[in-house]
């Protein structure tokens, strides 16, 4: 039984997850274009090059910007909408579906839709700009603006997912607590900040976890919008891995990026679960 039911899982996992992950560690010490066997051992040079690469610095900064933007704007928005939609009043189901809709769209499709929104000639934003009598900027071609434009798409795409998590959390809260607080004369804000938020603690910690992990791995959405440009201004760690490792077939260097990304994910995930989610 064990001999029959388990091997497919172990085999697939080993071949396509564990071995490649181990190989990434091995390849990261070589300069290799992928043909033959790696022989040109370069020690830690790939890692040194990586940390001296200005585009990688930009990528780290952009990942951080997305994290901060997600936590500061996306999650409060999701929580606000969840609070508005937690009670069953007219239209809640429809609003929930609308807000969740962007989450089910593929990142590639969502990215292309927003590329249209931001287009300087045909886009929605350009039209709004024109109606104020101004010339529209090509938002995605401006290195100073492009990353903020992407942040808006991230918020648009994912806040509905967090909202659904919050709604599920809100429904666990005992309604009599609200009654009691109201009778005791608590204000709306007091009820929200002293009852709702603390009791929603484990849900919020989970949603923060997903928001950060997702921000670290941001890739698909950026490809249709900017591919990491203009002049590397919207690179993230994964677009950097793609643009500098995959398209140039720099297996060693790209693997080094992968290893760094892996370590960041693991340290974050373990640290977060240990420190913040240990009681959840």
């Amino acid at each position: 039984m064990v001999l029959f039911f388990l091997p497919p899982a172990i085999l697939l996992f080993t071949l396509f997850v564990a071995l490649p992950m181990g190989a990434a560690g091995w390849y990261s010490f070589f300069n290799w274009n992928g043909y033959g066997v790696p022989t040109n051992f370069v020690g830690f040079r790939n890692f040194v090059d990586l940390f001296q690469n200005p585009a990688f610095h930009t990528a780290l900064g952009n990942n951080l910007l997305i994290i901060v933007g997600s936590l500061a704007v996306q999650l409060p928005l999701a929580l606000a909408m969840a609070v508005l939609l937690a009670d069953r009043v007219i239209g809640t189901t429809t609003f929930r579906l609308i807000f969740f809709l962007p989450y089910i769209l593929a990142e590639i499709a969502a990215g292309l839709i927003w590329r249209f929104v931001y287009d300087g000639d045909y886009g929605l934003l350009a039209k709004i700009w024109e109606s104020f009598g101004a010339t529209a900027p090509y938002v995605l071609s401006e290195p100073e603006l492009a990353m903020y434009a992407i942040l808006i798409v991230v918020i648009w795409k994912y806040f509905g997912f967090h909202m659904i998590l919050y709604i599920a959390g809100l429904q666990q809260i005992d309604r009599s607590l609200y009654e009691a607080a109201r009778i005791d004369g608590a204000s709306r804000w007091q009820i929200f900040s002293r009852i709702t938020v603390p009791l929603l603690g484990s849900t919020i910690r989970l949603s923060v976890f997903f928001a950060i992990l997702g921000s670290i791995q941001l890739f698909d959405l950026i490809m249709p919008l900017t591919k990491g440009g203009p002049s590397d201004s919207t690179q993230t760690m994964v677009t950097f891995l793609y643009n500098y490792g995959v398209t140039r077939m720099e297996i060693g260097f790209g693997s080094a990026v992968g290893v760094v990304l892996f370590l960041i994910c693991v340290v974050f995930a373990f640290g977060y679960k240990r420190v913040l989610m240990r009681h959840d």
């Binding site: 039911f5 497919p8 909408m81 809709l101 490809m223 892996f262």
Partner: protein, 270 residues
């Protein structure tokens, strides 16, 4: 909060969510000149031809077909392989079981992107480049950890008496799994299938490195290529986007309860 404020806020956000989507669908019905002066409103004249030309050609159907075949194969394999593994972990004590569970759950720790280059080498060395299986098998492998976790948690909740009774009645493990456990597990089978399907249907990076031949392209690759070719004909690109997201949107509204619950429960893991 007064209902006026509540609904004002809700309608404002709903508008911001929907306007890009509605403008995309309508944009597909416009001429390029119309789109330029009027990206928001209804088309001056409904250009059904933009849509009919795409639906009449083979390109759209080939992309949809490739994506569908890959997603269906990925779902079937992931569900089978992870349900079998989870069943063993729940019902059979054997040496090394705890180690193997932890080994497989390592897969929760990192995204496919981290190992994409060695994965490419591995797929190439197995001769699976430009082959459906080159995308399907790695997708199954990366979906195993979370699927096994979902199945394991569900199987644990099934009453243990069922298992004892079945064994006493002379039902073997295999028949117990096939005739009792799986039929009782419909909700979790649906959940896992939804998560895996959506992931596969939307995935981009893996097909991007595996497929070189355009006839094998999945729709995310195809739509990127289409946008590259017709980059200035936004009306055609918008029609193409609309037609590619249509199946997912229809599926979402048809089975929204399953999909919302599936996609969020998949993430609420222990």
């Amino acid at each position: 909060m007064s209902p006026v404020v509540r609904y004002a806020a809700l309608f404002l956000v709903a508008g911001l969510v929907l306007i890009p989507l509605v403008a995309t669908v309508l944009g597909g019905f416009k001429t390029l000149g119309d789109l330029r002066v009027n990206p928001f409103g209804f088309p001056a004249q409904w250009e059904w031809r933009n849509y009919w030309d795409i639906l009449g050609g083979s390109r759209y159907w080939q992309l949809m077909g490739n994506s569908a075949v890959i997603a269906v194969l990925t779902v079937i394999l992931t569900v089978m392989v992870s349900a079998m593994a989870a069943f063993v972990f729940v019902h059979i004590q054997f040496f090394g079981s705890a180690f193997l569970v932890n080994y497989l759950l390592l897969g929760l720790m990192f995204p496919a992107a981290t190992a994409i280059l060695p994965l490419f080498i591995q797929i190439r060395d197995l001769g699976l480049l430009d082959n459906y299986w080159g995308v399907v098998l790695p997708q199954v492998a990366f979906g195993l950890a979370s699927s096994i976790l979902l199945f394991r948690n569900y199987f644990k909740q099934l009453p243990a008496e069922l298992f004892e009774a079945a064994l006493i009645d002379g039902c073997g493990y295999f028949r117990f799994f096939w005739h009792i456990v799986l039929p009782l597990s419909r909700p979790i089978l649906a959940t896992v299938a939804v998560i895996v399907f959506v992931h596969s249907w939307n995935s981009y990076l893996l097909p991007l490195v595996v497929f070189n031949r355009e006839t094998l392209y999945t729709w995310p690759l195809g739509i990127m290529a289409y946008q590259g070719e017709f980059s200035t004909d936004w009306n055609l690109v918008l029609a193409f986007i609309t037609l590619t997201i249509l199946p997912a949107v229809i599926m979402f509204f048809a089975a929204q309860k399953h999909i919302v619950a599936g996609l969020t429960s998949g993430s609420v893991k222990g």
